[in-house]
């Protein structure tokens, strides 16, 4: 295996003005298990089953790794919220995620299906660049919490263009408990009556 020339790019950590002072950003320390992740994901404790690994990234030099951890441990602009589950409001409104969107769906289809709940401030329907078809999800923004909540309640699990869609919040106030993922159904066990912030 060619190991010698893996690093031809010259990343010097000291050249980096990326490093802000507060390194203690909450990035958990790396788990001591091998292999380590480049940037810190949930440190030790979470699933510690050994992983099958693959890729040149595991053979990287220390310099690249130091650079990487500097990038990710710097200060990030984040929400000023008390954290925990529950939807988060963007400046202009509330954003719901629709998945399972039929690949031939057009914006009009979504506008027709969701427009009855309120005025749609923003609609993103991403295309798969490779196929030209819809990628399968859409983001829809409503001005009011009630409009978004009603959309979720009434449209989640329904059919759009012969395909079942799920509708849920896109942004959360904080991290969600891992337990919820495992037994999660589209409606989820967690509360859908968050505090409103205006």
């Amino acid at each position: 295996m060619a190991h010698a020339e893996v690093e031809t790019v010259d990343f010097e950590p000291d050249d980096d003005d990326l490093m802000d002072e507060d390194v203690g950003d909450g990035s958990p320390s790396r788990a001591g298990t091998i292999p380590r992740l480049k940037s810190a994901i949930t440190g030790g404790g979470s699933s510690s089953t050994p992983k099958k690994t693959k890729g040149r990234g595991f053979r990287d030099e220390a310099a690249a790794e130091a650079d990487r951890s500097a990038r990710m441990s710097a200060r990030f602009d984040s929400l000023d919220s008390e954290g925990g589950p529950g939807p988060e409001r963007s400046i202009e409104g509330w954003i719901v995620l629709v998945t399972g969107v039929h690949e031939e769906a057009q914006e009009d289809d979504l506008q027709n299906a969701f427009g009855e709940f309120g005025e749609i401030k923003n609609l993103h329907l991403n295309l798969d660049r490779r196929t030209g078809f819809v990628k399968g999800y859409a983001l829809i923004e409503f001005e009011n919490f009630e409009e978004a909540q009603k959309t979720i309640s009434e449209m989640d699990g329904t059919e759009l263009l012969t395909q079942t869609i799920t509708v849920d919040w896109a942004f959360s106030k904080g991290s969600f408990k891992r337990r919820n993922i495992r037994r999660r159904s589209p409606r989820g066990p967690r509360s859908r009556s968050p505090r409103r912030r205006f």
Binding site: D15, R71, D168
Partner: protein, 146 residues
């Protein structure tokens, strides 16, 4: 083959960047298992400032990301035969899904022509289209929060 689609960990990190006459220009984001999306974009061209944002995504969003990754079958690929990072630039893709952990590095890919003339056009093509997922990260981080 169980790829742990609905259970187990999911983590995705993508980096693309280079060091040039404008300094270290890069884009990097992470989808973390707890729902946090961190996004950083640094371009020193015309002294743009660094953008660093983080938001929390719902399980619904992570689930969709997993689906996209799973559908791409990138976890079956290997970067053995991909061009190595070079002076022009570097890309990194690190994904944990279920009990598999990949960490691929390669050079920047200018176009599909680069893909087609590489030693592993099939694998590199999958990588090339999957990292369009950076558009997802950009989309989510483009929303402003108070």
């Amino acid at each position: 083959m169980a790829e742990g689609e609905d259970n187990g960990e999911f983590y995705l990190r993508y980096y693309v960047g280079h060091k040039g006459k404008f300094g270290h220009e890069f884009l990097e984001f992470e989808f973390r298992p707890d729902g946090k999306l961190r996004y950083a974009n640094n371009s020193n061209y015309k002294n743009d400032t660094m953008i660093r944002k983080e938001v929390f995504l719902t399980p619904a969003v992570l689930k969709e990301c997993r689906r996209i990754v799973s559908d791409s079958e990138i976890m079956k690929e290997d970067d053995n035969n991909w061009p190595e990072p070079d002076r022009v630039g570097r890309q990194e893709l690190e994904i944990v899904m279920g009990n598999e952990h990949i960490s691929f590095t390669t050079s920047k890919i200018g176009s599909l022509m680069d893909v087609q003339t590489s030693k592993d056009p099939e694998g590199l093509r999958i990588f090339y289209y999957l990292v369009q997922v950076h558009l997802i990260a950009e989309l989510f981080s483009s929303y402003d929060f108070q």
